[in-house]
């Protein structure tokens, strides 16, 4: 299984500069790739293209040689920096966890999601607690690639280590591929098989 961006170019507006120009990236099943580089939105844009949130104006994104599925469960899942922007504030946690698939007790346990949280509203959980919910929601059995865009940047070191420990264990057991976007070179060094710079792809 391979997820790839082939020669993709993207800009939000015709009058603006390209955010990505003929960029290429390949992630194999079971591989953890780090993506780094200076500030700017090129990295996040690439992650959005790979997850199918946006279509490149040129080039293509392929999963196992085919375009991303246009309906049904998305095998490429993206988790962002701010969990409070990624959940419906008017849904209880229990319902959020059912949004993509029925998150099971085993995964909840691995991610340290307590039973009592399920009846709360998103604003009653801390940032670290809510991010675990977003990670669990993204890890359905159909997920083949996980894209983590500054997924633990807002979290303290202990919570960060807990979440990554669980995610890496799951990724290894399922041979899931991952893309990790972070400014933290130490974090990328810990997690990744290889690290690429956005300016060189």
């Amino acid at each position: 299984m391979l997820l790839e961006a082939r020669d993709v170019s993207f800009r939000y507006d015709r009058r603006e500069d390209w955010l990505l120009q003929r960029a290429n990236l390949r992630i194999e099943a079971g591989e953890i790739v780090g993506l780094t580089g200076p500030s700017g939105i090129g990295k996040s844009t690439l992650a959005r293209l790979l997850a199918g949130y946006r279509k490149p104006q040129q080039g293509e994104v392929r999963l196992a040689g085919k375009p991303l599925p246009s309906s049904g469960y998305q095998p490429v899942q993206l988790v962002l920096q701010h969990p409070e922007k990624a959940v419906n504030p008017r849904w209880r946690i229990r319902r959020i966890l059912r949004e993509g698939w029925q998150v099971d007790a085993e995964l909840r346990h691995m991610l340290g999601i307590a039973e009592q949280w399920l009846d709360r509203w998103p604003n009653e959980l801390s940032g670290g607690e809510l991010q675990r919910i977003c990670v669990a929601r993204a890890l359905g059995p159909g997920t083949q690639f996980l894209l983590a865009d500054e997924m633990t940047t807002m979290l303290d070191a202990v919570t960060q280590a807990q979440i990554w420990n669980a995610v890496c264990e799951i990724a290894e057991a399922r041979r899931m591929g991952m893309l990790v976007i972070s400014h933290d070179a130490h974090l990328l060094g810990r997690l990744c098989n290889r690290i690429v710079d956005i300016d060189t792809i």
């Binding site: 500030s39 940047t153 303290d156 070191a157 960060q160 280590a161 400014h183 997690l191």
Partner: protein
């Protein structure tokens, strides 16, 4: 005399519990902290540990259903709500978390002049712009015409120009790339070096350590340790509290060790050490009461077994 002294600060929120009954949910618990002039003190901890509440308590901007006990003094005098209102924006300034605090409809030079409370407004604004390498042409720009890094410099320039002596910076750097972050934090160091006291609220130990003199670590609504920046070294043996050590050892550049468990929810305050369920050194003595705060090796700790 400390610039800011916080003594035994506790905060609880009133919550109605049905017909004519009220409950108080404790959120901060007997917290101690000092900030001296010339010093950067970082407040570290997980989200939900109460860091921003502490900042809001010092500024006097907690919601009206908060009940506050304990004492805060600024330059030796008690911080009453009246005095907080008089000092806010004058002597005590907040550098907010987000550049969204800038008024989108006003040129930034004018916004900084508004912040100046003593002396000639234009001169002080120009001076602080020069200090933060913001060219004169930037004065007339609106926030949307600035890069993110420039907008942050404007926020710090406003705090400097205001003439405040105590600067409270609430999570000023998350998600910045390392160069921009170093620059942003360097500004706070400069403010301390010219005599201000800076309280830097952050969840990021590694970056806070690059500028802080002392570190206060919060866990479940209280400060569990105050350490010197130099204590964060090697495998953390100079640190005093098991939670501080866990934070240090969880950094990817150290052990990346995931300490299991969660902090108790705010409000569930057991009559025991709040860290006990996660602590490998816990004994019966930890379960009888909140460990009292005590001095240890030129710092503070709230742990019965720390030595």
């Amino acid at each position: 005399m400390a610039l800011l002294e916080v003594n035994d600060l506790s905060i609880s929120f009133e919550q109605s519990a049905g017909w004519l009954r009220q409950r108080y949910i404790p959120v901060l618990h007997q917290l101690q902290l000092t900030v001296d002039a010339g010093e950067v003190v970082a407040v570290l901890g997980a989200s939900g540990a109460g860091k921003s509440l502490l900042a809001h308590a010092i500024l006097g901007i907690l919601p009206s259903h908060a009940r506050i006990t304990g004492e805060m003094t600024y330059r030796g005098e008690r911080l009453t709500p009246q005095r907080q209102a008089a000092l806010r924006g004058m002597d005590i300034a907040l550098v907010p978390q987000s550049v969204a605090y800038l008024d989108p409809l006003m040129p930034v030079g004018e916004q900084v002049r508004h912040a100046v409370k003593q002396g000639n407004k234009r001169e002080r604004q120009r001076e602080s712009f020069r200090l933060y390498r913001l060219g004169e042409e930037v004065e007339r720009r609106y926030p949307f015409q600035l890069s993110g890094g420039m907008a942050r410099r404007v926020l710090v320039a406003a705090a400097t120009a205001s003439g405040a002596r105590l600067i409270i910076a609430d999570e000023p750097t998350p998600g910045l790339d390392p160069d921009v972050m170093r620059e942003a934090l360097g500004r706070f160091r400069e403010l301390a070096d010219v005599g201000c006291g800076v309280l830097l609220i952050s969840h990021d130990i590694a970056s806070a350590l690059t500028v802080a003199d002392r570190i206060a670590v919060m866990y479940a609504g209280t400060v569990v340790e105050i350490a010197r920046a130099a204590d964060f070294a090697g495998d953390g043996t100079a640190l005093r509290h098991p939670y501080t050590r866990a934070l240090w050892q969880a950094l990817p550049q150290n052990g990346f060790v995931p300490l299991p468990g969660e902090p108790p929810q705010l409000g569930e305050r057991p009559h025991a050490c709040a860290f006990a369920s996660r602590c490998s050194a816990a004994t019966d003595a930890c379960l009888h009461e909140q460990p009292p705060v005590r001095e240890l090796r030129r710092g503070l700790v709230r742990c019965v077994h720390a030595s």
